[in-house]
Subunit: 483 residues, 2 copies
């Protein structure tokens, strides 16, 4: 078989001009796709005929790039998730931006591996990390890493916590005793639970502390639990403070947690996937006081910084502790004193990944283009809009706010008189589904104290106040229709 191989064949376009023309067409179409996002349905179900297209076997023979593009246009583009639309307020996501797209485009063209080495990509990521340290008010000596998202950022922070606080060489010996304890509120994000499980600690090692009425961690209960655990021979190692819970946007009292961690010699980790980047917003920043005292912080730049997926970030205050958790240099990764393989502190020494995409580039280009103050204004805008929506809800007797506004998250329900809890839950679930199926808006949902909530996580840079007027009008219309 190997005789039929031509050493000049490659995966490069056979005709560069044709390929370039196709890419230009894609750019025109793509820019229009983003620009006209309001004119298309936010979401629609895929018909069976489209679903069938995804069931074909591995393509063995080639196709024209143009026909692959037609396939994309017919079967993929009309059926998006909806999250680039201004009225997507479901799971907490950003919209993406054109500057982010440009950065991602170049990342794929240059295609370096950010695992390590002496090349410009490494400097770009270092600079981006330095900027994020500046935003979070971490010292210059801290370390950081861009990762796939909040799940990995939290995993990394908790891994360092585990290794630093266990009291023995856990990298070599493994978990010798089944007694380490982590703490978070009952609202702590599930990715922390997943991290604890993967780290070998078991869900039983994550003690979930009750919350106050505003869904922030109950500090007294936290203190009490630590005391009880110590009395029972367990070894408390870390408290996870949440800055922006997923249900209601609640921000734990970070300074109070920092005090406890200092007194008890515990690791202080902040899950800031939702809220940490809101340090850029003048109106949110005061609520985040204490974040700068954390030992590690997890952020998600594809949420409120609107980077295209994926862009998470972990910061660790003590760079040595960070590196000591992840650095592992076998023979074939040994460094040189000159050339490409030179340089200290490769990024692969600060996380799980060895090969790493140049995800820093989109952040670098976006922050340079828009400037951090504009990103701050976008965050403030969303917070203002949450209160605008709150006012709309409070004005109407058949609408009920179900939790205090945390950051930009509003939980409410349609509540006409004389309906049981069960009926209200079914009614609001149906309203939420019909909003979606009629392509009006895509709010999320959750359950608080047994009550089904329509939940709006307002993290769109494209949304305007008028969109919430539409939401309220349609919730009432649909609600009345159903009854």
């Amino acid at each position: 078989m190997s005789n039929s191989i031509n050493d000049n064949e490659s995966l490069d376009p056979e005709n560069w001009e044709e390929s370039k023309a196709l890419m230009h067409k894609m750019v025109d179409d793509a820019f229009d796709y983003v620009k006209n996002v309001r004119d298309r349905k936010i979401w629609q179900d895929m018909p069976e005929s489209v679903l069938e297209q995804f069931k074909t076997d591995l393509p063995k023979a080639p196709s024209k790039a143009e026909s692959v593009y037609e396939d994309l246009q017919e079967n993929v583009l009309p059926y998006p998730m909806g999250n680039i639309h201004p009225r997507f307020w479901a799971w907490y996501m950003g919209n993406g931006t054109i500057s982010g797209v440009m950065g991602d485009f170049w990342a794929s063209i240059i295609n370096p591996n950010l695992g390590g080495g002496n090349h410009a990509g490494h400097q770009v990521e270092l600079q981006v990390i330095n900027w994020i340290k500046e935003i979070i008010e971490f010292p210059k000596t801290a370390s950081g890493l861009l990762v796939s998202g909040g799940s990995m950022a939290n995993f990394a922070g908790l891994a360092v916590a585990r290794n630093v606080k266990a009291g023995y060489d856990i990298r070599k010996e493994g978990l010798k005793e089944n007694n380490l304890v982590f703490y978070g509120s009952s609202e702590v994000h599930s990715c922390n639970t997943k991290a604890i499980e993967l780290l070998g600690l078991g869900t039983k090692s994550l003690k979930k502390i009750e919350v106050n009425d505003d869904y922030t961690i109950n500090i007294d209960a936290l203190k009490e639990q630590i005391k009880t655990d110590k009395a029972n021979g367990l070894k408390p190692v870390c408290v996870i403070g949440t800055s922006g819970t997923v249900n209601t946007g609640a921000i734990d009292n970070l300074n109070a947690i920092a005090d406890i961690c200092k007194a008890e010699n515990l690791w202080f980790h902040v899950d800031g996937a939702i809220g940490a980047i809101a340090m850029l917003s003048d109106i949110v920043k005061p609520q985040l006081k204490g974040i700068e005292r954390a030992d590690s912080v997890a952020l998600d730049l594809h949420k409120w910084l609107h980077m295209p997926f994926e862009a998470g970030c972990v910061l660790v205050k003590d760079s040595k502790e960070h590196k000591d958790t992840f650095s592992l240099i076998p023979e074939y990764l040994a460094k040189n004193t000159r050339g490409l393989a030179s340089g200290e502190n490769w990024f692969s020494e600060y996380g799980l990944q060895l090969s790493r995409r140049f995800r820093a580039l989109k952040v670098w280009m976006s922050l340079k283009e828009h400037g951090s103050e504009k990103f701050g204004r976008m965050i403030t805008k969303n917070v203002n809009q949450a209160f605008y929506l709150k006012d709309l809800i409070n004005k109407h007797q058949d609408l009920e706010l179900l939790a205090p506004i945390g950051l930009d998250i509003v939980c409410f329900r349609y509540k006409p008189k004389n309906l049981s809890l069960e009926d209200l839950n079914a009614l609001n679930k149906e309203i939420k589904l019909q909003l979606e199926e009629r392509a009006i808006a895509l709010p999320g949902y959750t359950t608080l104290k047994g009550m089904y909530c329509i939940r709006c996580a307002i993290s769109s840079h494209r949304v305007t106040n008028a969109d919430f007027d539409v939401l309220i009008t349609e919730v009432l219309n649909i609600g009345r229709e159903i009854i």
Copy 2:
């Protein structure tokens, strides 16, 4: 402060036509950048003046997108890693492709979150996973997930192995006994060690078995070690077979490992980051016999499938065991029976990440455009080239091959007469560095049995045989110059 906020401000371009024009310019430049890659230096050091550019503080005010692009052109593009160049044979990486760039471009434009939900992106990833199962000859009932790379793919496979074979509910209880044992050869990739550490098992739990002369795992030694460990009260749980070691491309005897795992009731994981995708090559496929018997396989599509970073993949034969390791559904991720939040088996239930980039799209578009057979020919071409290079080495009395050719990896050195081991090592290290600094080629290096090797991992779709003629000529020239 919030009064100064305009609810109509967004991160979208203020002038769409200007922004589109910039993107068109970027496309022209980027295509030329790839097309003319041979005409530029494969690698060059950054001068101090460029390094200074990366030390500026967080940009608070905006800049024109055009000036950000100038910054990219001046300070980033001229200083690449080198891995898109045909003469990059260092760390094992792919080149990237234009079809991959197009896929990544659209992934950033559409910007869905592949964590879950009922939208076209989910179907695309399902189809890509099905195609990869077809390539690896896994059954249709197997599950899979695209991940950041080989490190995460191996981590995921080993996490399932740990949880399935521990014999108790490790997700809930954590590691109760410090007695689980994993096996791999002494050539097993370091990311597996990192995974074992993060999973809480400790490096002591990864027993490294000696290799044969061809750097494949010694099957008898493996059997012996399992027997010894059991006699000592340890609990063997998993054997990692490597298909393509990083040093020499050696492929373990996968069928022999499968037999042992069957007899001993162990999990059989294949680290196929380098070699598994070579199932597409007629000449390599027979060497991979037995991979279809694995419980889990890790692949890296940004290596020999030339996807732009990142594109790893894990396959697990028993989809329930896979899901049971990762699925975790809190209230706010509860599914609906209709609408966006419907559908079984969300991808976030099969891995660590909740938010996930649409990395499937580039794979989908590339496989459709080129067809799997062409990717197979690209792999075969590289293997042929490894033997072409071997012949060049063997023809010259001052060159010495240092290991059998595994897949596409060639380890050799310049060896003039009458030099000590120490001098030979220093000489070859200097040759390798000067190849790089003179921008001739970028081979890698490793040390085998104490001997410094110039190591060529030939995973470029752009390389031709003539490039190896240049390499050999220049190795001899530089070697003679130094002596």
